[in-house]
Symmetry: C2
Subunit: 221 residues, 2 copies
DNA sequence: CCGATGGTTCGGTTATCATCGAACCATGAC
DNA sequence: GTCATGGTTCGATGATAACCGAACCATCGG
């Protein structure tokens, strides 16, 4: 009866329906206030407060106080990865029966925490590996930097952080990997800045403009 | 209050200490009997039976009856991925404080579900991507097949299944990817068959012989 | 047929925890 | 100062579920 890592503790934090709703709502990387989260989860402020305290205590969420508001966001990309790992199950159960695109727009391009997921995200990741933008250890190569610079993602523009420069994140709808880490975030930021795409309100959908999609595909080659 | 995917249901299955112990015990990919699991989890047979029924019902475990024994194994590689995603948390909490190699042998080479993980597993994956054994979509190339054939992993030797031929699995200790999927399993099987390595009893450690490690490194180039 | 062993089913007990009402604290607007 | 709003604390309630004892079913070995 070897006492392994305390998997159960973290799992229990996600196991409550109210808490899991909150986590899903935060998957787009925004920071929401306690009351917003309470109404999203369908519970009162008191209950939400209790839940949020547990999530922060368990280091699943980060809290930032601004004035009389408290903003909550996911504690990091590893939390987003965990949630997506859980979502794989629900898509599994449904896939053999109805592979139908329940949310076509969501499958095509969506925000995963702070980077691009869905078909477009997977295409970017595949291309980056294929064309040698990334090394084996997922470090960005010289060739990669020249490519990323073309849309305004330069080494200098990345904030100093101990967060991995580049990570691969398993995609829920595609069952493949997409580009995560700081490079993933910076790239998505640039897509918005360049107006190639915009985020639909109250949704994780990333909507490309026709022109934007054309130039994106042209960019990745 | 959008009803998202039922994350909480799966998380709840992992959230119980007894059940999480069982899942951790099954991470090496073996199939264990109900009583073995009950003693590992520190509960009686009755409670274990109840837990196992829930896990099978939730499609987290698969059950196979052999005579009067019931063998349980993880339902797939996505379950292993989920568990590793949870382990990232516990290692996270500890890493900044003591990066020390708590279990050096475990970090070097271990079994993850049914394939090779740890430094050696990551080295294999990196080399496979680097040297073009795998295509962008992680399909095995002609070049790859000739390499894998050299240690006895041929297309014919792989069982027909809808399981992905090759997958990348995020490594808990290395925070990098290692080779998973059917190719990953077949490769590990061959390492044992060739006596390049053996599995330490009652542990997930994969112990290479000196000769075995030499030939493994020579093989991957 | 008879024990022995592996697993399950059933009932009852216990403990944990999500939930909300109500009261309370803190910030900001006026 | 007063009032409104965002959040937390406290206590009580209720539901869920883990747990075990005991009885039961199924398979294997003789």
């Amino acid at each position: 009866m070897t006492e392994g890592p305390d998997i159960a503790r973290i799992a229990a934090l996600v196991a409550d329906p109210a808490r899991s709703s909150m986590l899903l709502a935060l998957m787009d990387g925004r920071a929401l206030t306690a009351t917003e989260l309470s109404s999203l989860a369908g519970v009162t402020k008191q209950t939400a407060s209790s839940h949020l305290a547990k999530l922060v205590d368990g280091e699943v969420l980060q809290m930032e106080a601004q004035g009389r508001h408290r903003y909550f966001r996911l504690a990091g990309a590893h939390v987003a990865a965990l949630i997506e790992a859980l979502m794989v199950f629900t898509s599994d159960a449904a896939a053999p029966v109805r592979t139908g695109p329940r949310e076509p727009a969501l499958r095509k391009a969506r925000v995963c925490y702070d980077h691009l997921a869905g078909e477009m995200g997977v295409a970017l990741y595949d291309r980056a590996r294929d064309a040698g933008w990334l090394a084996d250890d997922l470090g960005v190569t010289d060739k990669g930097w020249s490519k990323f610079s073309a849309i305004g993602v330069t080494p200098d523009s990345l904030p100093r952080s101990n967060r991995p420069q580049c990570r691969a994140c398993l995609d829920w709808s595609q069952r493949r990997h997409h580009l995560a880490g700081m490079i993933g975030k910076a790239t998505l930021d640039r897509l918005f800045a360049l107006s190639w795409a915009r985020r639909l309100p109250a949704s994780r959908v990333v909507a490309f403009t026709p022109e934007g999609e054309r130039r994106f595909r042209e960019w990745i080659g």
